[in-house]
Symmetry: C2
DNA sequence: CTTAGCACTCATTGAATGAAAGTGCTAACA
DNA sequence: TGTTAGCACTTTCATTCAATGAGTGCTAAG
């Protein structure tokens, strides 16, 4: 375990590196952070911290920079949370005060706000359909047996897709099915409906075609949408002044499927979650950090939002921001959701 | 007007610069393009071309590079169209052969294909709603007088938005209106419907509330969606190795509204359109070129697709690609559209 | 245990240098 | 008169070299 002095020095190094982006030397620590110690003493301490894996050297004659372990300790034990300023809070609230026309607009704007206030890249993973409540279905028959299926969730999210059927169903029959679905299944979790249909598909043999159609309607495999805001912010930070590096980062950010996967893994935990560098368990973004939180509708976790940026990130600020935003979005979505009264 | 020799030299310079990205000297031209002229003669000619504004110097002792005017002349009069290879055509067709689940998926994929085959950034401006045919409307009443309005166009495009009404309409009344709209207005151009409503709003005084609701339902101001594919490709090209520059380009590409505007301006003309550098009439992308074409549904122009990249662009290839893709998308969308039989 | 002092190590910077590439001009040539 | 060879001049680019300076590790004294 680290003694008080080492903690103080580690904290000074991490903090200084986060704010300045240049490796921190013993002299700097001695001068800036009134520890009443000489540079030499601090040097000894820093050497110890390096030995225990909290700090590294870029090269022999440079100052120290934190390792993933160093950042982790800082985030867990050393940093104090930097609350948002009143202005920032007002600014955020203002963004959500105007009329909302579409749910996906909320996601889009949230990712923008996250990036704007953090100067990193904002992420919003749209509500997971599996976890959503079924509200309403519309079927519009197109030609050639194609059916346009439009599903509306309890939170007002609208998803549509085209279903191809072999046999053209008469319009009245389609209407019947539709009415049945809307009357019987409304306000049930989509997951439950899906399971129910799977079960029926195993048992039923008579109205098989209908159940297969139902199955298609309620199957939405992995089309979870990810909204990214402020990708360019990546370029603002000195660690990516090297083009080759930032190129690979951009490539990773283009791969929404990849990011969505990493994000959805963090969905389970309570509160704000921080993943530092290699902790993301994903090679392509191993030089980045992720700060995420779950947003909820009526207390049920449905999606994830957060920020992605360099490992050298202002964690204290970002954690507060992400926390606040998750609560904000939860409130907005819950307000909009009409299942409140159920 | 340029004589034959000058044309040949201009063409050689532009072509060589497009393929190599390094300023072209007289020696290079003499060697590579069997013009049977000495470097000195070519130098004289190039000096003339510079005087007439087709070429410039980055600095005194560098080779020549084309100006916007030079590129323009090349595109209009000198280049020969490079048709797509059979493999490329097959590859494109393959992309559209699998099942299509959503219309916006077509847009998304098209932008990807455009970027993949050109190594520049692909653009697709979604079908303009004004120019679309109305097919079907759904209204789902949420709580607090909110109505979720879902509009389906003839091409299967689904747009949704939430409408806030002061007075809560009884469900039956809403159903009546809905039926009326779907029975009477189906297959009419949205633009015509919009005009009709505007007229009624001026005349009618009795059922004013209803007409105002109708107006809200059919008003979709400027939410034209722009799909971008392969933004990172910008970084591949040497002219953007400078970070500051590529940053401003990325910023411009983030501004979808701006791009959408530039694109929609090109919608009018027939065939493939090329805008070079300043011709885009937009400061932020004055170092880029745009190659666009209109795609159609049943022969009616509805949207624009194309490519954006550095001025030093392989116009001959890109023009062919954009042309082919526009035809491809037109075919796919027309096939999908069910107004064929009307 | 703390600190001053010192030798040592690298990264960074800036100046100097020398190709390389290319031009413009002049004068000779066909 | 148009074309070409030759040459002086520019400018960029890569390389080398030394100076600079920030920072370390170690040792010995306080």
């Amino acid at each position: 375990m680290l003694n008080e002095r080492k903690k103080k020095i580690l904290r000074a190094v991490v903090y200084n590196y986060i704010t300045t982006a240049i490796p921190v030397g013993s002299r700097t620590v001695a001068k800036k952070y009134r520890l009443h110690l000489s540079p030499a003493t601090i040097r000894n301490c820093m050497a110890d911290l390096e030995e225990s894996g909290y700090l590294t050297h870029p090269h022999t004659s440079a100052g120290r920079i934190p390792t993933d372990k160093g950042y982790r300790f800082y985030v867990n034990s050393l940093m104090e949370r930097a609350d948002l300023s009143l202005e920032e809070k007002i600014r955020i609230k203002k963004e959500y005060s105007h009329r909302i026309n579409r749910i996906d607009q909320i996601m889009e704007e949230t990712s923008q706000v996250l990036s704007l206030l953090s100067h990193y890249t904002g992420l919003v993973l749209a509500p997971n359909l599996e976890k959503s409540i079924f509200h309403h279905l519309e079927l519009v028959s197109l030609e050639n047996g194609r059916i346009l299926s439009i599903l509306i969730t309890g939170s007002g999210l609208v998803k549509n897709k085209i279903i191809e059927t072999e046999k053209i169903l008469p319009k009245e029959r389609l209407g019947e099915i539709l009415n049945l679905i809307n009357d019987r299944l409304s306000n049930l979790p989509l997951k439950r409906i899906k399971e129910f249909i799977s079960d029926q598909l195993k048992i039923e043999t008579s109205a098989r075609k209908i159940w297969e159609l139902m199955n298609q309607i309620f199957t939405w495999d992995g089309v979870e949408e990810l909204y990214l805001g402020g990708r360019i912010n990546i370029l603002e930070h000195p660690e990516f002044k090297d083009l080759a590096r930032s190129k690979s980062i951009f490539q990773a950010l283009e791969e929404k499927r990849l990011l969505a996967e990493v994000l959805s893994k963090t969905a389970s935990s309570e509160g704000v979650r921080v993943l530092i560098g290699k902790e993301t368990r994903c090679r392509k973004i191993r030089d980045l950090s992720l700060v995420t939180s779950t947003y909820r509708i009526n207390g049920r976790p449905v999606g994830v939002l957060g920020i992605i940026g360099p490992r050298r990130m202002e964690y204290s600020k970002v954690v507060s921001l992400v926390d606040f935003m998750a609560k904000m979005v939860s409130k907005v979505l819950t307000n909009l959701s009409h299942t409140t009264k159920v």
